[in-house]
Each structure stands twice: as structure tokens, then as C-alpha cells.
Symmetry: D2
Subunit: 348 residues, 4 copies
């Protein structure tokens, strides 16, 4: 059994904690070092976590929280980063330059022309950009990025349709869970008996990232997919699980049953046997009132996009509801699946 | 001071109770009779209400709950109906045939070709359909209907834009409050840590009713406005206040400041001095995270649509957020405002 | 491997559904028949459930819902009843008379002098009352009852203290989850931004049932434990998990560490190897802000009482917080554990 | 009409903002200066508030936020302090020494032997301690304190019973609203589908402050009332309104109707005509499921304690439920009512 040493940056936050928990019994990866904010430096990892390290095995719980600099992580070939963007911008290149494979959940480099933005089922071929990146930047390591949580849920829903029918335009309204804002992100006074139609920076991400994901790699770069996306993002009093109301127009006409079949048959990672990959990245529910965050966010271990309510749209072609677990598939699990893809591609 | 006797049908439910409460100190109307379900017949009105008649003056609190038949309401020129649709379908025509002016919140006759569907600021001229209705049905009274709650919030937002610029197509995702489902409408187990992307029949109403409202009266009928509406309706854990995320395409180009000015200057009822009419039916908020249900639903006594977040839409022309109080402007207050309009038109 | 055929009465409600789900892979028991309300008679079981039978194996999902009469359950030696009390009162004796072992979650017979009220860790010896019951009533079967959900959480907390130190008096305020009221039990309008200090009949149960549980069996009856209990019951917007704030006065003085040790060492079922018994029925948490419903209700599979905040009480002796999963240990799991105890005692 | 210039310290927080809003149209007091945290110094007051100064008249909205030092407040005879305790400890004595009348909501000096802790209906006579304080500390001004929010709700409920019957011991479990923790006090992730049985320092306050309030002034000091209080404090997902489940033992036996009469007749401030005093500081509701936070917190403008569910307690004598608005009567309104009492006593 392979065992690759992993360092987790920002390991005490909500996403970093989830990465560590998901790796606790991973067949390929072994958490060997963790970093966190200054007030936690030197503390036992379990004690630095908000949940006291619930469910974390002793060998991880006993790690000392380090600063996010390369010295403490020299042994870790693989770096999974849950750093805040303002820290990630400076820190991640240092690791990449020092030869580490960095998979980052931060937004800092998602749209950089030589940095792959990856959803493994959607654009594994974009990893070729790593070679471009290493050449241009003269790095022995590299940075690969995980998209915004809402983007991932959305991209799994539309990628097979984009491949089969083309997409001309897309409207999406997201109802996003509180955990997407991290610890301290939303005050309880703000969100009881309320929703908030504003999440800083979120609409821009959803309007751009999917077009990079669905873009074509050629000539050492990505040509963004050429269709317009309009996003409205709303925070709702749900703990976990982003729900998205989509309307889309296809390039070529499609019957509803063709769309359902396309989703059902879409298993792009099937041959790779990645430990965290869901058997079906898209799951369609027939009930008229599904998916719902609390009932469906944990489908396929939180790694799938669950879809329902496919129906004709009087303005575009189809309406549908998509849902995914923002902390698992949308963040921690997404980062890990990218790392598994890198291993499968021989890049680890 | 005029004093018109009013009968309220379905007066013990959430909407009917609100109608009665709003009429408690009304300058023109005086509640003289109330009806309710069979188990409440003969009970004192205050005791039949879920809230024990909080804030209701004694002369109303002491009314006995009657059945919804015309005998108990013979004295009431004006009938305000909050009956469930399946009851309203049979009962309301009996009242209209007997000479009563019926303003109904039920969906039963909203789309009937000879029944006005009215938002007073939007299409007061459609009241001319009353004459057609009386002629065709040989009624001495008539039925006028109040639209679906989400439709009203939406229509106030778009009516001035429709008049000024034309509308080509419109997408709306609604986040609807629990009170829209009435007492017993939503189980608490369903909606804590959750949202539900399904409200039976709601999308159809929103996709059709605004087009009747914005339609033109001519030749004894209404020609529906000719643009497509696409609606997605989601129930959220909010007590009162429907929030709507809109995207729309205009017929003629407009700058954002033209749109803001159009809303600001829109005061179609100004000359009529209707007691329940808001000074400004549309209120625009500049803050980036408004409107919010809990903070803004009571603006202008719950009778206005509060708008915010106007911004360019990459797919259609503009995106915006609209909010209104579903029980006040969207139901009880809307019914009362229609009655005031009827009075102002000399039809009471 | 033994395999005892089980009939579940009231199998489509919240508790009955949970019983069936918990039995899906039980080593001793096999669900062979299910009953439900009249509108579900003859329907496929999975379709009659609110959750569509999520996670239920095919052989159970395909059962037809029967009426709660003995004919459909002739094969089932063991009957687990989640019937509403008003139905259970009539139905359960019929089954017992016909030779079935009935374990009931209904309140109907909990306080009957010849019916055991059982928490297996607390008063397994009360099963001797079965012999009294069969003799008096001339039944070949019998009824055993599971206490009220709040009673169970409470009893696990205090039983070892009662045995070790005696209890003189006890105050408890419960913060009870919505699921305790069943489907349709609490309207969402009632409980958002609110709590309700009233649960019909609940305080009486908590003030009497623990005293039967802790009572002594002798002379063919139970002498209730002789101490006063005062209960205040409040419904709170929590999905699952009843939290209880206790103050108690002991008969004999005890240091806090003696109490902690008493809980830690309390493993009364250890030798019996019952499949559903938690290793430790009481789990103590040291953190100052635990237990909490969402974080701790699933400890030990929802079968333990989780305790925290033990501290001196200025009025009685000690204050503490106890928490348990009302649907698992407090209802479905409690019923199953009693059935396992009956098997272990040779009464099945 | 008198018009006393008031300075509000900590005027941008939740309590301070409420003080200012309640004073906006006060007949006696006029807000003339406001202080806030360093990042707000020099900003326009309305903009420094979380709610943008909603409902605040222009002359207050336009005030510049000052530092909490005496220079900016030289004109203000009356200082109302909503400072955090760690700031209040240093700042408030400076104001008192400089001759200001300081009414403080901070805990810093509540238990100081020469500082009055006041609920105007309960212990107006304790204001005599001001003279002791000025003598001992050689201050020309003075500090008077408002109790903890839960204490106030509790004290209004029990003060008339203490006077009429005596109290021997008291148990209370509080279900406290989120607003009691201030902005940023509770993360939304913590409290959806959850309650938290811990509020730092709160139980100590409730177990001591009421005994000072109900104590007797003599010999230049307060002899604390001699009965034990046991408190358990739990945070619940309610926006405003603390609900308290009480059990109490009286010194002398009393029938329930004597207690009800005692509450009903209790109008200790009647002769003083204080603008913010509720006509009845205690309101009893007969419905079995009241009071409830959302339905009853605004009774008497949020200035009363609403009581219900009076019933026999099997351990002590009586159980009851009390409720009060933590931000109004429990904080901002309580501070203002004390100031009105000071005026009425000729101390302003």
C-alpha cells in the first residue's frame, strides 16, 4: 500500500479540519504535519480544533500545529491547503517552488492562466497545465486548485450536458449553507427568521470558474467555454449543503429523458478507482420536492451532486434543482479527490 | 365618514385573521360578519382564532362565526374572501349573484376571462371587466381577485419597468416564507436546517398571473402581456416575507439610473388617497445585502415591494432582489387595497 | 443464529419507522409484518413511509401495510408497538391475550400495576411482573412497556446515583426536540424564533414513571421509589435530542468525583451481550458547554445518556445537564433493547 | 418640559443602540453625545451602527462617535453606559468622579457594597446608597447599576411574592435569546438545530444579584436577602426574549389565587408617572402554553415580565414560567427606567 505523507495547511478551520478528518483512514495518504494560525502554534492539533478533534486518530491528534512555512513540511510531498486566500497567495508559491505538490482550496490562483482549476470528473486533462506552470515559473513543485464550492456542485450537474448538447447560457440562484462562511462567518442574529441575498465575491466566482473548467486545453492554455452564466447568491439558515436553482439553454435540442440518461451514464472516473470518487457523480431523484439540503447532502458520502425537478423553462430550455455538500464535495473532499487524481496520473 | 359593512369569509385562517386585524380601525370599512370552518360555527370569533383574537376590538371579537352562506352576510355590501380555493369556487359566485361585491384572495377565478385580477397600482383599468362579468353572468354583484402573493411582490417591481421599457423575458427564483402555507402548512421537522424546492402549483401562478395583470383591456377582455416568465419556488425557514431573485430582459435598453428613477417616481395611486396605499409602492435600498425578509418585510406597513441589488445580468439585462410581506401586501392588505380602489371608483 | 419474527404496529409513523430501520440488519429479529393507519392498508410499506423507506431492505420495503389486528401477525412471536395511545389501549391486550410478547412505546399501560415499565439497565428484575400479569389476566402473551422518552434519558442519568447514594428530590427542566411530537406535531410557524413551555401530559409522565422504574419489586407488585420529582417541559427548535437540566438532592453526601466514578463504572448489561446495548449507558463530557443536542445525540449510536456540567447546586446538592436521543434511546431503540432483554431472559 | 442632556457610552453595540433608539423621542432626556470603539471614532453615529441608524432622528444620527472619556461628555449630566465590563471598570468611575450621574448596564460594579443595583419597582429605596458612595469615594457624581438581563426578568416575577410571602429557595432554568450575547456573540453554526447549556458567568449573576436587589438597606449597606437561588442557563435559537422556568418555595403558605392577586395588584411605581414604566410590571397569561418569546416579549413595550403556567411543584411549592425582553427591560429599557427614577427622586 502506498503511503504518501501529507501536510495540511490551515488545518484548524472548518475546511482544513474536514480534510484531516476525511484523511484519517485514507488508503494512500497519511497526515504528517498541520499548520494553523499564530495563536495555535505549538498546540496539540486536537485541542486547536473547534470540535476538539472529534474522531481524529491519536497519531494526528497529537501533531503540533506548525506555522505555514516550508520547513515544518519538508517531509510532505503533498500539501493540501485550506488557507484563507490572503495567506494562500504568499504561502502556496513558496511550497510549490520548494518542490511540493500543492492542492489548494483558496481562490488565489484559480484563474491564473497556468494553474489548473480541476474537478476530476470534468477536466482531468487540464492537469497538463502543470507542465506549463513548472516551465514558466521554474518550479519543481506545482499548484493545482479546487473551485469554489458552488461552482463544483454546478459543474458536476452541467458538465455531462455541456459535452452532450452544448450550453448556450445559464442562470443560477444559489441557496448557500452557513458552513460555507466558516467559523464566525455568520452571526446567529443575522440568519434566524431570515435569508441574506449577498455573499461577497461569490457571484463573480460562479460566473467565471465553470467556464474555465469546461474550457479546452490547447497551446499551453485554457480557452474558456463560451457561454454566459448569471448567478445570484443567497445565504440561508441551513448548516451544510448548497442548493442551486438552475435554468439553462442548450446548443442542441434535447428531450428530458436524454438529459436523464446522460446524467445516469456519466461515470468519467470509473476506470481510475480513486478512493474518494463517487460511483455516480450525479444522482437524480424523482420525487417532486427533492433534493433538499438536510435529506440529500450526504448522498454518496457527500461527494455527489444530487439533482431533481428537471422541467421545461419558459425562458431558457430547462429548469432543475442541484444540491451538493459544500464542505465535502465543495471543499475538503474535492481537494482530496484532486490529490487522488494526481496520484493516478503519476504526478505524485 | 363612510362606513361600509364588510363580511370576511374564512376569517379564522392566517389570511382571514390578518384581514380582520387590518380592518379593526379602518376609516371606511367595518367588519360586521365573519365565517369559518364548520367546527367553529357559533363560536365567539376571538376564540376561534389561533391567536385568541390578539388586538381585535371587542365588537369584532364578540361576533359569532357563521357558515359561508349569503344569509349571514345579507347586510354586508362588501365581502372579502380568504376561503380555500376548493370552497371559494362554489361559494363566491353565490355571493356575487346575490349582489355582493366580492374581493377574493383565492385562486379559483383569477384567470377567468371576465374576472379582474387586480394590483391597484398596476391595472386599476381592468376593473372595467366587472361590467363584462355582470353582463355575461347576469350578476348584480361581482368578483374581483387578488393575485398570488409572489405575483404581487413581483408585479410591483416590474410594472413600472414594463411601462417604461417593455419586458421581453423574466426569470425569478422565490424564497417563500412559511406563513404563505397557512396554519399547519409546513411541519417544523421539514424546515429546520433545510429548504424545500417545491410549492404545489406556485410556479404556474407566477408564470401566468403577472401576464394577465400587465395585459391590456380591450374588446371586453384582457390580452395577456406577451413575454415569458420562468419561476422556481422554494420554501425557506422564514416566518413572513417572500424574497425573489429576478433576472429580466427589457425591450428597450435602459441604464441602471433610469431604472432607479422609474421606481422612485412611480406613484400611480397618489391622487386617490386610499388609506392602505403605500406612498411609494416600490422602495429601493442601496446597501449591498438588502432587502432581507426580517429587516424589510414591514417597510411601509408591509404594503411595499422593497428592492435592492440591481446589477447587470450576464444572461438577460439586469438582476435584482425584490421582497414583500406575503401576508400583508401579498394577501390581506392586497385584498383591502382592492376594496379601497373599488370604493374610489364608485363601485361600492 | 436465532431469527425471531417481529411484527411492528404503527410502523409508518416516526417511531415505528425508526424501529423498522433499526431492525433492518438485526442479528436476532426479522421484521415480518407491519401495520399502519387505514389509509395505508394494502400499500407497499416503503411507499407508506414519509421517507419513502430510505435505507430499508427490499424484503421489508415490499411488505404490505396491514391493519393492527392479530390475524396479520399470527406468525410474529414478538410485537413491537409504536401505536398512538388511544389505539394501543384496545389493540395491545388483544395481541397479549393471543400469546404474543408485546413491547410497547405507548403510554397506555406504563403505570398499570401488573405491567413492567422497563429500562433494561435500570430494572431488568421488574420483568418478573410478567408472571403476575399473565396469571391475573389469564394471558398466554404479555405486555411490557418502554417509558416516555424524557424519562429514559433521565433514568439512565440517575439510576446509578439512586443505587449508590439514594435520591431525596429532583427538579428537571426539559428542552425537547420536535421529533418527539411526531409528524405534524409542531407547526413550523410555532417554533421559529420561539420556544413553547408546554407539552401536553409530559410533566406528569416524568414526575411518575422514574419512580416506578426505580421502585422495588416485591409481593407481586412495584413499590414506587419514594422521592419527589418536579418537571417543566419546553419544546425547542431542535430536530432530535432532548436536553434536561437537573438538580437533585442525594440521601447520602457524595463528592463530585464519586458521582463521576459511579457513572463511569456503571455497566449493568455488560454480561448479557445485547446487540443494541451501549457499552456505557452514561457518558460524561468534561467540556463546560456540553452536552449539546446536535453534537451529542448520536453518541453510542443514540443509545446513551450524555451528561455534563456537573456542579454544586445552591438549593439541592448537584446540578447537571443530561441529553439523549429521543427517537433512538427514548423510543425505537429503547423498545428494541427491551426485546433483546426479554430474549436474554428466556422470555422469547 | 425638562430636557436633560444624556451621553450614551458604548452606543454602537446592541444595547447601546437600543438605548439611543428608545431615547429618540423621550420626554425628559435628549441624547447629546455618544461613544464607541476606536475604529468608529469620528464617524457619523448612524453609519457606525450595525443597523445604519434605522429610525434614529437626524440630530442623533449626525452625532460624531467620540471616545469614552469625560471631555466629550462634559455637557451631559446623565451618562448611560452600555460599555463592555472590562472597559466600564476603568471608565465609569472617571465619569462619576467628574460629577456625572452614571447608570450602567455593565456588571463591573453591580455587587460593589456602595453601588446601588436597581430595579425601580423592586428597590428604589436602595438609591440611598448613592450618598454612602459619594461620601466614601469622595465623588460629586455617582454610579448606579442595572442588573443582568435574566435577573431583571426574574426579580419582577418574585419581588411581590417575596414581599407578600417570603421566599425560602428558588430554582431557575433560563432559555436565553441570542441577542443577549451581542453582535458576534453566537455563531449561526452553533445554534441551528441546537441549544447550548452554557453562558459564561451567567449563573453566578443570577444566583447573587436578586439577593442584593431584594436585600434590606440599613447601616449604609445592603443585607442580602437570605435565600438560596440555583440557576442553569441555556442559550436557545430565539432572537429576543429570555424565558425562565422557575420553582420556588415560599416562607408562608399561599394559595395560587393569592399569588395571582399579588402579581395583579403590584404597581409600585404608579404614583411616580415615569415615562417608561409599564402600567403592570407583571402580566399573567392564562393560556396553558404561554408565555412564549416571540408572542410575548413585546408586551407592555417590552418592559414587563410576562408570567404563565403557575402550578404546584412536587419538590418546592410552585412552578411557573416567566419571560421578558432581554434587550428592552433586561438592558436598554431598564437603564432608562432607572434614570427616570433618579429624576423622580430629585437626583438628576
Amino acid at each position: 500500500m502506498v503511503s504518501i505523507k501529507v501536510g495540511v495547511l490551515g488545518a484548524t478551520g472548518l475546511v482544513g479540519s474536514r480534510i484531516v478528518s476525511l484523511l484519517a483512514h485514507h488508503p494512500w495518504f497519511r497526515v504528517a504535519a498541520v499548520s494553523g494560525g499564530q495563536r495555535n502554534h505549538g498546540r496539540r492539533y486536537a485541542e486547536a480544533r473547534h470540535d476538539g478533534g472529534a474522531g481524529v486518530p491519536d497519531y494526528i491528534a497529537d501533531l503540533k500545529v506548525a506555522a505555514s512555512d516550508a520547513t515544518a513540511f519538508a517531509d510532505c510531498q503533498l500539501i493540501l491547503s485550506a488557507l484563507p486566500a490572503e495567506v494562500a497567495s504568499d504561502v502556496e508559491p513558496v511550497f510549490a517552488a520548494a518542490g511540493h505538490a500543492v492542492v489548494s482550496n483558496a481562490k488565489s490562483y484559480r484563474l491564473a492562466p497556468d494553474v489548473p482549476l480541476i474537478v476530476p470528473e470534468v477536466n482531468a486533462d487540464h492537469l497538463a497545465l502543470i507542465d506549463v506552470q513548472q516551465r514558466r515559473r521554474n518550479w519543481s513543485g506545482y499548484i493545482v486548485t479546487n473551485p469554489n464550492c458552488s461552482t463544483i456542485v454546478l459543474s458536476l450537474a452541467i458538465a455531462p450536458l455541456y459535452a452532450a448538447f452544448g450550453i448556450r447560457q445559464l442562470q443560477v440562484t444559489t441557496l448557500q449553507a452557513i458552513s460555507g462562511a466558516g467559523y464566525g462567518g455568520v452571526d446567529a442574529l443575522s440568519l434566524i427568521d431570515n435569508v441574506i441575498p449577498f455573499i461577497a465575491g461569490e457571484e463573480d466566482k460562479i460566473e467565471s470558474e465553470p467556464r474555465k473548467l469546461l474550457g479546452a486545453f490547447s497551446n499551453d492554455g485554457i480557452a474558456f467555454a463560451d457561454f454566459a452564466i448569471s448567478a445570484t447568491c443567497i445565504r440561508v439558515p441551513v448548516l451544510d449543503g448548497h442548493l442551486e436553482a438552475l435554468s439553462l439553454q442548450l446548443d442542441r435540442p434535447a428531450q428530458a429523458d436524454e438529459i436523464l440518461t446522460t446524467w445516469r451514464d456519466w461515470q468519467p472516473l470509473k476506470q481510475r478507482n480513486l478512493p474518494s470518487a463517487p460511483a455516480h457523480p450525479v444522482i437524480y431523484l424523482d420525487a417532486p420536492d427533492r433534493p433538499q439540503p438536510r435529506l440529500d447532502r450526504d448522498a454518496a458520502g457527500g461527494m455527489a451532486t444530487v439533482i431533481g425537478c428537471l422541467r421545461r423553462c419558459p425562458v431558457l430550455d430547462y429548469k432543475l434543482i442541484a444540491l451538493g455538500h459544500n464542505l465535502v464535495r465543495g471543499a475538503a473532499g474535492g481537494v482530496i479527490l484532486i490529490a487522488e487524481l494526481l496520484k493516478s496520473e503519476g504526478r505524485l
